[in-house]
């Protein structure tokens, strides 16, 4: 039975060479500006669309003191007219002009609708043009006319556990020599401007401030204090839906909050690609449609078939290489030696399903199955 019993443990992807495909969609239908087969760079505009402005309701009948169905009589503009903020759009006069009420446009926009049911007039903001970039360097694999372009490239690919800040690109540059080294402000200098810095186990608050000041594009590091990140962002994080933070650079944590050494595997992938340009995105959504932050380093080499590692069907088996993802053994890597079916009591006295892991130093540790991720099931 123990052979069959398993724990589903999703792991984060970390691959030195894989095929990355990105669907770059327009927010609403628009125009795609690239062709299938075309080479694109990080900043290439692949398409643009026009976003409808927000509508403003002007309560004309109330403001003029007339019935809703009478509003049209007093309008000085008609649907489709462009107006500027402050332009008079409705006017009511009585007693030969002695009594006058006027309504001004609240924004620059277009008169969209005069509603005789409610007596309201809708003024819509002017449309905004939104451009979408390729985000990664690669080839346009496919085009969905008016909607999206599919970009593909062989790349080194790493997922983080949480990130802050959106899409950026820059040259990968190591500021530490080991994955367990702390990235402090002394390790950051002007030469990192515009680059993506790789740190080790922890980034200090002062280092974050300095990075911001110098103008780095991104930081990839094992851990940080949540309070430090919140200080930089300027507000408190409630739920793990991130990516829109506006701090001038993108921060990706590969392990979590606290001082946590970056996994060797991830560190080595980043090290091997030092000097190459990478696309990064801190967008994270832990709930409903999990999104993790990512580092994509496009490679020139011809593609070697290796799928991005999605661990969905992996089962923990005797012999699986796993990594512990919760204190007190956070980051420990070892081989599964036992998967007992029955429940075991851990330090908290909770009876849980556990896994026994042999570490490289020969020690055998017992951890809840929920607290591991699979590195390899081979």
């Amino acid at each position: 039975m123990s052979e069959e019993s398993f724990a589903y443990t999703p792991g984060l992807a970390a691959s030195p060479m894989t095929l990355v495909t990105k669907i770059r969609s327009l927010p609403v239908k628009g125009e795609i500006l690239v062709d299938k087969g075309q080479k694109v760079d990080f900043d290439t505009i692949i398409g643009r669309s026009v976003l409808e402005g927000a509508p403003y309701i002007v309560k004309v009948s109330e403001m003029l003191g007339v019935e809703p169905e009478e509003v049209s009589r007093y309008m000085t503009v008609k649907p489709g007219d462009r107006v500027k903020k402050g332009d008079i759009i409705a006017r009511y006069t009585a007693f030969f002009g002695l009594m006058k009420r006027e309504v001004a446009a609240p924004i620059d926009g277009t008169i969209e609708n005069i509603n005789e049911l409610t007596g309201h007039v809708i003024v819509r903001e002017l449309p905004k043009v939104v451009e979408v970039t390729a985000y990664i360097r690669g080839i346009v694999k496919d085009v969905i006319p008016g909607e999206a372009a599919v970009i593909q490239t062989p790349a080194a690919y790493v997922q983080g556990i949480i990130g802050f800040g959106g899409e950026r690109h820059g040259e990968i540059s190591l500021a530490v020599s080991r994955p367990d080294e702390v990235l402090d402000e002394k390790k950051i200098d002007e030469s990192y401007a515009g680059k993506i810095i790789v740190g080790g186990s922890f980034v200090t608050y002062d280092a974050l401030v300095k990075a911001q000041k110098i103008g780095v594009k991104g930081i990839i590091v094992g851990g940080a204090n949540i309070a430090d990140i919140e200080r930089i962002i300027g507000y408190k994080i409630g739920v793990a839906i991130t990516g829109r933070e506006n701090m001038g650079f993108t921060l990706i944590l590969t392990e979590g909050f606290a001082k946590l050494a970056m996994s060797d595997r991830v560190f080595n992938i980043l090290k091997q690609n030092e000097g190459r340009e990478a696309a990064i995105n801190g967008a994270t959504q832990v709930r409903a449609g999990v999104i993790r932050p990512e580092v994509i380093i496009p490679l020139e080499e011809s593609y070697i078939k290796e799928e991005i590692e999605t661990k969905e069907s992996d089962k923990v088996k005797i012999g699986s290489i796993v990594r512990v993802i919760r204190y007190p053994y956070f980051g420990a890597i070892g081989t599964v030696v036992e998967l007992p079916v029955e429940l075991h009591k851990i330090e908290t006295e909770s009876p849980v399903r556990i896994v026994k892991i042999r570490l490289s130093d020969g020690r055998i540790i017992t951890v809840p199955r929920a607290n591991i991720e699979i590195i390899s099931s081979e």
Binding site: I57, N225, V239, V286, R287, E347, T348, P351
Partner: protein
């Protein structure tokens, strides 16, 4: 599907936002028993995107543990062996609840915030929804602000109320117009028409139809939720929401169409099923009950008080996905007041936020456990405040409040829930059910709800209240039988007084009389907890003579006597006052907490050494 008149084996699943939980029940020697549980991560997300995979994994665990064959392995798609074939093979009934993918998310709107918008909230909450926002004409936001908010929400269903029948139609049309103009996008794809439930002034129906064009909206019209100012009629709106939940929301979630074919009755939103079971229990026993479902993403609070049932959900207070938000809303000081350890604030914060980003991990050290338990108290406390905000008498005119007020203490006189008259508190949810010691969940519930007088505390043994709730739609008696005998763990009675004083001051003389004639008397001092071992089967008479500064249910200084039972934890005499005393000096607070934890035998004797390693 035909129902068996005498089922033998029943399988129930709850497809939660994090975990899919299977519960297996059987009739053994003429009594209904809970036989086994199985759990597996929910597979609603990419790359799997098929909930039936998670259900299969959870049921597979039940099979492993019981040796009872449930899955039909001849089929590639999830299929159960139905009906029961004798021996250890097959089931008669399969039911399920779901809160996967964030549950049922709704936008509600009304004309007046404290009248129709409040009624609309109660209707949506009763149907198991998470409320994304509440719009009303008087919510203090400009129309363009409302439009901007609505534009970027992706609700599953919108509920619009407003106006009494025969009354003014202008305002309800105005609020409808705002929603129509903003065109909120549904969560599931462009081909999906956004369902709108209109439960406002019936005279505005024709105009409402014009405001919501058919090519974009799926408008459903039901009876007015407030036909008259003093009448609230939430049932038609609630039933329509549940119908739309099945028709639209469930049908669009990955894999649900397969699951819907397998169930013996409609899949219910988890909180709606949980509420149904608590309500059924309260009605059957004719008691006042408070319940809490402390989940990973949300905290649901249920009350049944003097025949009135109410459910509320705090969408962003939970123990995994939303745990960071509990800290954010409560503040670090409120969390720390329940932690008797000298931990750096950053350490506490990091423990909490690491749980948020790895929501399926479980605490392995006592420090982590104690921190999570502290957060749980605050999540329930704030959820209960939110609940009390809606547990108010129907009124035409009320004091203005903003939505941020819901996290502040609600004054007692504003809610109809009288803590002195609550008979039972029932706790459920992963953290409570999995608490290693029952005294921990009892203490969390006492600290969070702070009951007054004599209150019996129970908890879900293994998370199964939603499972039984959905089952009660088919077999009420079986559900009640399992609920009372197998599901609820009797923790014990808490006896507590309202009032405040100085540490060490006497607050009451207490006498316990046992059935065998034994008598035990003691003094309860301010700031202390006394726990006495009394089992569930033992009934004792407790007499409390409080000082004039304390009220144990009969009034300040008034003597009160009650027959009460114990439980697996026993009787808890809580002399910490209401609200529970909290000292400003950290050292003193830590010592106070330690004394409470010791009285309750909350953690291992040597927990201090274990947590300083």
């Amino acid at each position: 599907m035909t129902l068996s008149s005498e089922p033998r084996f029943i399988l129930a699943t709850d497809v939660g936002s994090t975990t899919t939980k299977a519960r297996f029940f059987g009739k053994i020697n003429n009594e209904w028993r809970f036989l086994a549980s199985g759990e597996a991560p929910t597979t609603v997300e990419k790359p799997v995107e098929d909930v039936t995979k998670g259900v299969r994994n959870a049921v597979r665990e039940v099979e492993e543990l019981t040796g009872h064959k449930i899955l039909d392995d001849s089929s590639e798609e999830l299929k159960f062996i139905m009906p029961y074939r004798g021996g250890r093979e097959g089931i008669d009934i399969y039911v399920s609840t779901s809160s996967a993918g964030g549950g049922l998310q709704m936008l509600v709107a009304g004309v007046v915030k404290t009248i129709t918008a409040e009624s609309a909230q109660r209707a949506a909450l009763g149907a198991g929804a998470i409320i994304m926002d509440v719009l009303s004409v008087d919510d203090g936001r400009e129309p363009f602000e409302k439009i901007n908010i609505v534009r970027f929400l992706r609700p599953d269903i919108v509920l619009i109320a407003g106006g009494t029948d025969g009354g003014d139609v202008t305002h309800v049309k105005e609020i409808a117009e705002i929603i129509a103009m903003a065109k909120p996008k549904p969560r599931f794809g462009a081909s999906y028409k956004l369902p709108i439930v209109y439960a406002g002034n019936k005279d505005a129906r024709e105009d409402i139809k014009k405001i919501f064009p058919r090519d974009y909206f799926d408008l459903r019209i039901v009876d007015n939720i407030r036909p008259q100012i003093e009448v609230e009629n939430v049932e038609p709106a609630r039933n329509m929401i549940l119908e739309l939940f099945m028709e639209h929301v469930m049908a669009h979630a990955p894999g649900y169409e397969k699951l819907m074919k397998l169930v013996s009755t409609d899949i219910m939103p988890t909180p709606a099923a949980e509420g149904l079971m608590i309500r059924t229990f309260a009605e059957t026993r004719k008691v006042n009950v408070l319940g809490v479902g402390l989940g990973g993403a949300t905290t649901n609070i249920y009350s049944y008080f003097d025949g009135r049932f109410l459910r509320t959900v705090s969408a962003n207070l939970g123990m995994s996905y939303s745990i960071g938000n509990v800290l954010k809303e409560a503040g670090i000081e409120n969390i720390k007041r329940w932690i008797p350890l000298d931990l750096d604030d950053d350490v506490i914060r990091n423990i909490i936020y690491n749980k948020m980003i790895r929501p399926t991990t479980i605490p392995m050290t006592l420090t982590d456990l104690i921190v999570e338990h502290a957060v749980a108290r605050e999540a329930i406390r704030m959820g209960f405040n939110h609940h009390k905000y809606l547990a108010r008498e129907l009124k035409g005119v009320k004091k203005e409040r903003t939505i941020s007020d819901i996290f502040e203490e609600v004054r007692e006189e504003e809610t109809y829930i009288d803590m002195r008259r609550i008979d039972y508190i029932i706790g459920t949810g992963g953290l409570l059910s999995r608490a290693p010691r029952r005294s921990q969940s009892m203490m969390i519930l006492i600290d969070a709800f702070q009951p007054v007088g004599f209150t019996y505390i129970m908890q879900d043994s293994v998370f199964m209240i939603p499972h039984l709730g959905v089952l009660s739609k088919l077999y009420r008696d079986i559900a009640i039988e399992i609920f009372e005998r197998e599901c609820l763990v009797p923790l014990g009675t808490v006896v507590a007084g309202r009032g405040s004083g100085d540490i060490g001051d006497k607050i009451a003389d207490i006498t316990i009389e046992y059935n065998d004639g034994r008598k035990e008397s003691f003094t309860l001092n301010f700031g202390e907890i006394k726990r006495i071992d009394v089992s569930q089967d033992t009934e004792v008479t407790v007499t409390v003579s409080p000082t004039k500064y304390f009220d144990f249910g009969a009034g300040f200084g008034k003597r009160i006597s009650r027959k009460i039972r114990g439980g697996v934890v026993g009787l808890v005499f809580d002399g910490r006052g209401r609200p529970v005393i909290s000292l400003k000096e950290r050292d003193k607070q830590i010592n106070l907490l330690k004394s409470w934890f010791k009285s309750m035998r909350l953690y291992p004797e040597n927990f201090e050494e274990m947590t300083t390693q």
